[in-house]
Amino acid sequence: MTRMTRKTMRSAAALLAITLAFAGCGDDDTVVSAPEAVTDGSTSTSSTPEPMFPVTVTADNGEVTIPTEPTAIVSLSPSITEMLYAVGAGDQVGAVDASSDFPADAPVTELSGFRPNVEAIGALAPDLVFLARDRDDVVATLEGVGITVVLLEAPESLEDVYRQIETVAAATGHLDAGAEVAAEVESGIAALLSDVPERDEPLTYFYELTDEYNTLTSQTFIGAVLALAGLDNIADGVDPGAGSYPQLTAEYVLDTNPDVVFVAHADGSAPSADELSARPGWAELTAIVDGRVVALDPDIASRWGPRIVDLFDDVVRATAGIG
């Protein structure tokens, strides 16, 4: 063996050794799973419980078949997390994303619904994953490695919400509970809506997302909800090219003089009434003068779980007194 070859082999061996040492540091995540859950959530009166599984549900990623009752559910959407717990599947949930803070005892992890990390999700060995966004082809990737995924994207109407609740319930083996929760939400909203007074002209509103006049139109879910409550969005039709989240100008807002201003900053900041009237020209706005500024809980306003009833409640009560 020439000197050169021996040197090469020694270097190669050293590199290999370093490789193995490094790789030895990889740690095994513990598999997260929930304790065995009681499967029977049905209120049927028959003597033998109907087999809940396998079940096929229709989701935004097509027809999904769940072979057996899931016990290691991962939810990457706060809204879906709320639905899961509302239909009684809480015990089956193994992990939820970082922003799923309701209910408080949900097993929060650092997973992100915005930037889903396939490997991190897979490391938890889930038997069912719920997602509200298909970013970066994550659904296809997860399905590609054999994980069952149910994609339920942001709804466009209340009917969508009820359907999602029922889908979540069916997928987790709580079919009847799902129907109940959906019915409750529906009747709750109907009751609130009946309290909405008849108005000659619908009230106009400005929905504020940031300090820079970013807003949403009634093409969004929240916008549709507010429309149901008899409110007109001043941002509708202003800038068709800008999509559902346009940016308005101060002049426009002041000019249209909305009856109500909803404040729901995504970053959670809530300017006080004084700060708002300090903005140039705002002191003259009807909404400011009459105290019609409604601060909405951004968590509720950006989600569409069963707590949508609370949103309706806030909105209806806040606008009830306005003629």
């Binding site: 090469t8 990889g26 897979g122 990737t141 989240y245």
Partner: protein, 347 residues
């Protein structure tokens, strides 16, 4: 008496570099939220090969994640690293500037504009966003460089300075357009920036398949051209007198380098510093001959980016650091050290 070729890379270096690249791949495939030993990783990969069945003891989901998610990602990062490093070296040779990078002629701005068009407003209505973005990035990069070449080439062009000027102008224009579009569509800013900073988390076998043919052709052309690129170092006149048509060589090299760069950018976003740092660092070690720099850049660009991606996905797991940030964190100190070296050496 066997002698060492004065300009070709010694076999020893090539072998060591290849071993290093291989080691980086093995390490990267083994490390992640699902940790496996390199042997298990290799067994899983071998089992995946058609016609082979090997017992690896991992449950199917984990094995699938290794072969369908992690492996293509590691391979893609390696390939993109190779491409960017070699293209960077080729650009440095073509423009006789050891600080040139593959985005010099506007490829980055063009790709960025393409992606922005695809992700904002009207563009987002067109088809599946993943494919549209990739295609838009590629087309944008190629169009930008073609525009630069068209504007900057003149018959009497000697040093490529006019090309560089045209590149600066084109990049500025396209960036301005990009910013205009972004201003109007607030929602997409996050998506576009994520793309701009580079990422491998969407890597799958599709992306690998997309890049391999282009990379193979381009890298072959560049390595084969390296002997003549060394002649360019003498200036266009002397190169001509030695039998090399500098203008045509430049066009061929820029085309090949840009093609591969555009494809790499299309699948992984804009990853800076690789194209400058790798060839430059290699030059500091092996001298100015591109017959050494280009092949070594090709091989060593792979483990560099592969390991950078490893850091990107493990340091803040499950969050991912944009890979452009990692390469910048490595690149900046490199340049600072270059600065210090140049100050210390007596003139």
């Amino acid at each position: 008496m066997p002698r060492r070729h004065p300009t070709r890379p010694p076999l020893r270096w090539l072998v060591l570099s290849l071993v290093g690249a291989g080691a980086a791949v093995v390490v990267s495939v083994s490390v992640g939220p699902i940790g496996v030993s390199p042997f298990d990783a290799l067994r899983v990969v071998v089992d995946r090969l058609p016609g082979v069945a090997l017992d690896h003891g991992l449950d199917p989901t984990r094995a699938a994640i290794i072969t369908e998610v992690r492996l293509p990602r590691v391979l893609l990062a390696s390939l993109v690293g190779s491409v960017l490093a070699t293209a960077g070296g080729a650009y440095q040779a073509t423009f006789r500037n050891s600080l040139a990078d593959p985005f010099l002629l506007g490829a980055a701005a063009g790709a960025g504009l393409g992606v922005t068009v695809a992700l904002t407003g009207a563009g987002s209505e067109l088809g599946d966003s993943g494919t549209a973005v990739t295609a838009a990035a590629f087309v944008g990069a190629m169009v930008a460089v073609a525009l630069t070449y068209g504007l900057g080439s003149s018959a009497s062009e000697r040093t490529g300075a006019s090309l560089i000027l045209a590149g600066v102008a084109v990049a500025a224009l396209l960036s301005a357009l990009q910013n205009l579009l972004l201003q109007r569509d607030d929602e997409s800013i996050r998506d576009v920036y994520a793309w701009l900073l580079g990422r491998f988390n969407v890597a799958g076998w599709d992306e690998v398949r997309l890049l391999v043919p282009t990379a193979f052709v381009s890298l072959t052309v560049l390595v084969l051209a390296s002997r003549r690129l060394d002649l360019l170092a003498l200036g266009d006149d002397e190169a001509h007198s030695l039998g090399v048509d500098a203008g045509r060589l430049r066009l061929a090299v820029v085309s090949a380098a840009t093609l591969a760069t555009a494809a790499a950018v299309a699948v992984s976003g804009l990853i800076g510093f690789v194209g400058i740092v790798i060839p430059h660092a290699i030059r500091l070690r092996v001298g100015p001959s591109y017959r050494r720099i280009l092949p070594l850049s090709l091989i060593l660009g792979a483990p560099f980016l592969c390991l950078a991606d490893l850091l990107a996905r493990t340091l803040l797991s499950p969050a991912e650091i944009p890979i452009g940030v990692i390469t910048a964190v490595v690149g900046a100190p490199f340049f600072l050290s270059l600065l210090r070296r140049s100050r210390v050496r007596p003139t």
